[in-house]
């Protein structure tokens, strides 16, 4: 049986006295690409923040690489994790070149200033993967929103994490770069055995790339594997009765094959 990279065991999270997550259990193995979808305020980002120890579960357990995530163990365990959070109205003010931003993702960046960071080839490779190598010397503050997002992804990738946690990574990207992003993530799972958990609210965009989709709204309503159908009542209980489910094709998770045109 393949090793479990991340496991949530009956996790509950209350914030300011209100339940945000209820009895969430998840497990992800090496090379698995999981999408988490759900409406706004469903607790998707809170779940990711539990996975890096930024929030502490009210009850239940979060395990990374077979060990419990705690204030003590997180420094060591998170060395093997890459994380991309949502930027909300963030205005960058530190003067930095693109390649230096990526270098910050390296663990050698924590060395005292008299020691060189080096690792030029790892930085170049990460920038190449997101198609930003040409702009490596550019001032990070002058980039467009989509370029910023791609450089941030390169920063999350540069230390070759075993687990990648992404919170709406495609938010600032146009359709072409969105596709490129999903293809890249798929390749990282297949070729490098990287595990990815990606939060998105648009299931249609990701369903043909991921291995499974977890439907989250405070609790996990359904966890569909590739080719599996998500029942209509799951959609209704997550998003309300007024939504219409539009089916795509047979390769698409969550769609009913018979309904497909």
């Amino acid at each position: 049986m393949p090793e479990t990279v991340l496991e949530a065991r009956h996790v509950n999270l209350n914030l300011a006295g209100k339940p945000v997550l209820e009895d969430v259990s998840l497990a992800i193995e090496h090379g698995h690409f999981m999408g988490i979808v759900g409406p706004n305020g469903a607790g998707k980002s809170s779940l990711l923040s539990l996975m890096i120890g930024a929030n502490v579960a009210s009850s239940g357990e979060m395990r990374l690489f077979g060990q419990t995530l705690s204030a003590r163990s997180r420094g060591r365990l998170l060395n093997r994790v890459g994380y991309l959070h949502q930027l909300r109205g963030h205005q960058e003010h530190l003067p930095m070149r693109v390649e230096n931003v990526v270098a910050m993702g390296l663990r050698r960046w924590r060395l005292p200033l008299w020691q060189q960071v080096g690792c030029e080839s790892a930085i170049a490779e990460a920038l190449e993967q997101v198609g930003m190598l040409d702009l490596r010397r550019r001032d990070f503050r002058q980039l467009s929103g989509g370029q910023v997002q791609r450089v941030r992804l390169a920063r999350a990738l540069v230390h070759q994490p075993e687990l990648l946690l992404l919170d709406e990574p495609a938010a600032a990207l146009d359709a072409r770069h969105q596709q490129q992003l999903y293809v890249l993530l798929r390749r990282l799972c297949d070729d490098h055995r990287m595990s990815i958990i990606m939060v998105e609210h648009d299931i249609a965009a990701i369903s043909s790339h991921v291995d499974s989709v977890a439907c989250l709204n405070q609790r996990i309503h359904f966890h569909a594997m590739k080719g599996e159908q998500i029942p209509q009542d799951v959609w209704y209980s997550m998003y309300g009765k007024q939504m219409h489910v539009i089916a795509h094709d047979a390769g698409c998770i969550g769609c009913s094959h018979e309904d497909a045109a």
Partner: protein, 279 residues
């Protein structure tokens, strides 16, 4: 003219400590701007009045006592606002007013000869005692070592605290250490620039370099050049014109800032002009 400047015994005594202080404050100013802590330096520098007041009242050694109190207050400011739901801005404002008031009350009860209030407020590098100089050396060494060891981590937290935390960095302890270091730097700087002008020395060097820096190290080096230049020109003008030294140094840094800003503005205009016909 320069010859008489350097041969003057007052300047000879002041030159080394002034160089030390300006190098350290210019280095720290990079972190202070990156973390947007300029108001913290205002708060802590004014709080040092309470520290000095306490030291005089309890007849403890002045600078060490004031330095410890400044560090404690800076660290409290990192802690209290978060746990009580206040903004850091509010906390600093409270501390600023409260400790200044305490300091004035305490110092009003001691005789003029014990504390040179004018020197405290506006800086007095020209009357530095050997004891104070040794203390400055020690503090400067501690600050520079902390900076060299933690600069990259502090920079990374300033850049994106969430990602820094997610990579496993102990963000909260590192931030507390930074605040304590700012506290130390402020106390060190009070000797040269005084309480009122300390923020100038802790903000202006990096602010002047900010237009040109493209990396942490580049910014740091440029900031040190600005700090040294401002200090030397300031001391020279103060000596020539018999102006107060701290104020003159800060004034010269302001001039350097305006020049740097102007050149950067002109350069941008030129770039606009060059790109206009092409588009």
């Amino acid at each position: 003219m320069l010859g008489s400047f350097f041969s003057s015994p007052v300047i000879q005594d002041a030159l080394l400590p002034a160089t030390l202080i300006s190098l350290v404050t210019a280095s720290m100013s990079v972190m202070i701007i990156a973390h947007r802590l300029s108001f913290l330096t205002v708060g802590v520098s004014h709080a040092s009045l309470a520290g000095l007041g306490l030291a005089v009242t309890l007849s403890l050694p002045l600078l060490p006592t004031a330095t410890v109190i400044a560090c404690v207050l800076a660290v409290l400011l990192a802690w209290i606002p978060k746990s009580e739901g206040l903004s850091e801005d509010t906390g600093t404002g409270l501390l600023f007013a409260g400790s200044m008031a305490l300091g004035i009350v305490l110092l009003s009860r001691v005789s003029q000869s014990e504390v040179n209030l004018f020197g405290l407020l506006f800086g007095d590098i020209l009357t530095i005692s050997p004891d104070e100089y040794r203390w400055l050396l020690l503090i400067a060494a501690v600050i520079m070592i902390l900076l060299l060891v933690f600069a990259r981590r502090w920079w990374s937290i300033a850049f994106d605290p969430v990602t820094a935390f997610a990579s496993g960095l102990a963000v909260a302890p590192l931030r507390i250490l930074l605040y304590a270091t700012v506290g130390m730097t402020v106390m060190m700087c009070v000797k040269l620039a005084g309480i009122v002008l300390t923020t100038g020395m802790l903000v202006l060097p990096a602010a002047t370099a900010w237009f040109w820096g493209r990396s942490l190290v580049g910014l740091w080096l440029m900031s040190m050049v600005v700090g040294l230049l401002g200090t030397y020109i300031g001391l020279y003008v103060a000596y020539q014109e018999d102006w107060p030294s701290g104020a003159t140094v800060v004034l010269m840094m302001c001039v350097l800032f305006i020049i740097s800003w102007g050149i950067s503005w002109l350069k941008k205009q030129q770039e606009k002009k060059q790109s206009a016909p092409a588009s």
